[in-house]
Assembly symmetry: C2
Homo-oligomer: 333 residues x 2
Amino acid sequence: MQNRFWRIARRPEGTDFSSALELVEAPLGPLAEGEIRIRNSHLSMDAGTRLWLTDREDGYQPPLPLGIPMTGLVLGEVTESRAAGFAPGDLVRAFGQWGEVSTVDAVMSGALKLDPTVPDRRAWFGPLGMNGWTALWGIERTGAAKPGERVLVSAAAGATGVLAVQIAGLLGCEAWGLAGGAAKCAFLTGELRIAGAINYKAGDVGAQLDAAGGFDVYFDNVGGGLLDQVLTRMNHYGRIAVCGLLADYTGGTRTTPREFDQVLMRRLRIEGFFSPDFMHEGPALTERLRRWHEAGDLVMPYDVTTGLENTLTAYARLFTGGNIGKVIVELEP
Amino acid sequence: MQNRFWRIARRPEGTDFSSALELVEAPLGPLAEGEIRIRNSHLSMDAGTRLWLTDREDGYQPPLPLGIPMTGLVLGEVTESRAAGFAPGDLVRAFGQWGEVSTVDAVMSGALKLDPTVPDRRAWFGPLGMNGWTALWGIERTGAAKPGERVLVSAAAGATGVLAVQIAGLLGCEAWGLAGGAAKCAFLTGELRIAGAINYKAGDVGAQLDAAGGFDVYFDNVGGGLLDQVLTRMNHYGRIAVCGLLADYTGGTRTTPREFDQVLMRRLRIEGFFSPDFMHEGPALTERLRRWHEAGDLVMPYDVTTGLENTLTAYARLFTGGNIGKVIVELEP
């Protein structure tokens, strides 16, 4: 049986993914002990995976080698299993491959059997997925947000940001979002009804932040120059939870905060976090997220692209700010 | 009665303090209710006070206005009191004035009656003073150093650094120091017997750090380029306790970490701290420090300059790296 998948041919420059990734076809081999095979129904597009494509040794993990299939979170049904606890027909989420089929070691890939009664399985990527865990952890643990505090989230219309602002509100905070464009801001204040949204593409961000007032927690997905704008508007003893540095991922620049000394002047805490570090708390996080989600208090818009061959277009949208909510590739059955 | 004191005439450039501060004489007025008068025996020279001389609104506190006496920690005997709990003859420490006499509000100045039986009263500036509190708090609380961890301290031969490396050792950590010059390093490894010292003025700091191995805690007094060198050598989940940014105080530069993204890659925590924030825990901190100090496990070399007229020479040494240990001006009786 053949599998079509995206292979890493070269290191990408910026957002030119079509020169770096190529759609190829290869036969599927037999399963090794401990492996499962998944017929992917959905691929999750996540900005963090961009780091794995870069030839940089001091990232989260060593770069993915050239020549292998691109790795990412997938949803789908198990078609074949040589791993205990997994049987054909099971709905699973795993770190698999951008292809029609994922072949993974059940343990190494973090494969998780999912409750198939959840009405929209895509929720396992968003509110009930890694984005949900990340948003909850970053607001509550790393950001240590307390009821009544003022919380600002960057890339607030992105998958993690959408959840982070809602969770901040659910935890009794006043939630604000930074987003690029009027449509995103309207979504945040209109549909999500958060306290305020700041369009960093319109006018003077500093003046808009000044008008908003100081923040106790900054959940940062972006880094770059926005971080400097926020550093000088943090309240004393504020916390900055660094979830991502989107500004660095494709532009070849690096976040170098010019206002770093505010860490001392305002006694701020800046801390990076990363979901694989708290996988063991995943079930407890999911339970809380699911309660909010089922009550309709934690919603997620999906930005869906159909067809494996259109994956790179969907992926690029993460870096050009084209999406509201979770970017997903839906594969044709 | 006349008082001689250092008056802030202009904002200093770099370490040219003699153009900014002038030694003047003025009559002492009567005490207001709540005030005490102290015959200063010693002045504490502290790098952090340099910030108060700068015309920058976003520092710790508003800049000291021009025309007033320079403020700093002083030791001495009370000569006159209109404050409850203070009587002539009491030995006190307070935020007073760089002069022969300090006139302060007992509460606002944080005036503290000291045990006169401590053999060397200068200890109230060092191990039993603000430097001691800062070192203990930064290592144990902000740095959250745990036994067995590897702790690196910058400006390790400075007053706070000398205490921080010793306290790290007393708490069961492996203590390393960064210092400028062979004499300071020899002092750290020889007299203080810490695990290792790195001379950042000699050769390749990066290579020396690589040879030392990763660190779990960085107690940073300096900022600047050294911070970048250390950021890429921190162990995952490491903590950087930002005590000072000496590199910024006189050079007109600002610490802008180029390796900031290591916060995310290594999930580091960077946090600023400042002793007035934990004044209320001072007595408990002092008690622990005093036990170590009396047992001979927490020592401090003093860099003493005699005579009020020589104050600026002593002060400048903080910024040119001329001192080992606590810089003090001793006034002639």
